[in-house]
């Protein structure tokens, strides 16, 4: 009862009539947007290129703009990762967000400092990985999917030497770890690295579960899912960096089942 009375006098729960207050805003937004769309359509025509010709592959061939972040990932990962596993994980991860975020604060208002981790993670995934890679794909990728600066002419004869090398061979060459030249040892080593990478989540759990309230609240299942998704997302820039710095192609290759990461 007291709660109800309090609510009735709290300005944050103040209500206004939908008609006219909301309806007029919606009406204005709709009219302005439709006008904008009309002017846009009068000024710029939808593209129509030459008729489809299966024999003439354009260079570069680009997917629709909203998938170019994924196409950009093809530079760093095989298609089964960039085209199938990562998109599936994005969808699954998004679906799970409400169920793994147990922070009750910041429900229904803008705040950064009450939910820093959530917002930084989402912004990293959305603005850096999705949007900015999309921009790179749309504007900065030319023939051969080579990188071209914003105003550089697209030279279709640009040759970029393919010097990419698998991690085990790179270590064999640079550190003299010759046993890694063996594909089986290479595979074991790569697999070990990947397991070790994800195991950091277990170590963190073991170290912090006693003292961290957040981890206790999450529980082991939610924590496991969150850590897996987070580390997988973080693995993208890690692999990108490895490519830019050491030309690493794959971390692990299992030839028998045609799987490379």
């Amino acid at each position: 009862m007291v709660e109800k009375i309090k609510k009735a006098f709290d300005p944050r729960f103040d209500k206004v009539h939908t008609w006219p207050h909301l309806v007029r805003i919606e009406f204005l937004c709709a009219v302005i947007t439709l006008l904008f769309l009309l002017v846009w359509s009068l000024m710029i025509d939808a593209p129509l290129e030459h008729p489809a010709n299966p024999a003439a592959t354009p260079n570069p061939s680009k997917a629709p703009w909203y998938f170019l972040g994924l196409q950009e990932m093809l530079v760093y990962f095989d298609p089964w990762m960039a085209g199938v596993v990562l998109p599936s994980l994005i969808i699954v991860g998004l679906v799970l967000i409400p169920y793994i975020d147990v922070n009750p604060k910041g429900n229904g208002y803008y705040t950064f400092h009450e939910r820093k981790f959530a917002i930084v993670t989402y912004c990293f995934g959305f603005l850096i990985l999705w949007v900015s890679l999309m921009v790179v794909g749309v504007f900065l990728r030319g023939p051969g999917w080579n990188f071209f600066g914003p105003f550089a002419p697209w030279d279709s004869h640009k040759v970029v030497p393919l010097t990419n090398i698998d991690l085990n061979m790179f270590l064999a060459q640079s550190l003299g770890l010759d046993f890694l030249r063996n594909p089986f040892m290479g595979m074991l080593f790569g697999g070990f690295l990947i397991v070790a990478y994800y195991s950091t989540a277990v170590l963190y759990w073991q170290a912090k579960k006693g003292s961290s309230e957040i981890l206790q609240k999450l529980g082991v299942v939610r924590y496991g899912i969150t850590a897996f998704l987070f580390l997988t997302m973080a693995a993208l820039p890690v692999k990108m960096l490895l490519r830019w710095t050491f030309n690493i192609k794959y971390i692990m290759v299992i030839k028998q089942i045609n799987l490379s990461i």
Binding site: R12, F13, I257
Partner: protein, 273 residues
Amino acid sequence: MNKLKLLLRDIQETIVQSQAWKSIFRHGYADTPRNRALAIASNVWLHLHPAKVRRHAIKLRYTWCAGGLTFLFFLVTVVTGVILMFYYRPVAEYAFVDIQYLEFDVPFGMINRNMHRWAAHSMVMMVMIHMFRVFLTGSYKPPREFNWVVGVLLITLTFLLSFTGYLLPWDQLAIWAVTVGSNMARATPLLGNEGPLAVQVGDLFDAAAGVKDTFITPRYDARSFLVAGTVVGSPTLLRFYVLHCIFIPVAASILMILHFWRVRKDGGISGPL
């Protein structure tokens, strides 16, 4: 400011007191709380809304109107899309020339096609912005978890809607974008002919069916299921057309109904608890 208000009121009075106005609307509209509520509750379109909303929820700086605009763009594509369907045949021999016909001979064909295209792109952009807003306001938190899930399905369908439509003009842009996109399906683990474990799974299926080198080959795998053959061709066009014009819009509409209903049932637009 006050002078302007008075002027507007004068104009309003002149109009509603005129003979023409009174001949159309027999009685006036008394601006009472009851009538304000009825304006919403007794209107089939407007009663999607509650009669009253929290003050902060109607602020543009809260919702960015992004969900509403996504819906508006969807409606524009439905209307312009149906008009396009009157002139377009989803067969490789005809599709491209039908688009040219639309552009050059059909009255308002060009602008109709432009509106469809730009509204579709805008919808894709706006749905991402809407999702960003919903995230930033934490509106996926209880009790709205499930509406977020519905939203994720909706954004997925929005991408697929746009992607299937991309093929229909049947020009170079169309088939190559869809070729690049659908080539990914080749690499599906287990079910794509170039994916991990494809050979092993194919052998299993072959053995079960008593055939050789049939399953999980370029002819029978995840990609050929998607594009109806080994290349993006006329069967792909028909398949994408049906998905684009019937299956995905219907599925998205059903989910939108659910989405809007849940916004109300979950207590209206989110706000400080």
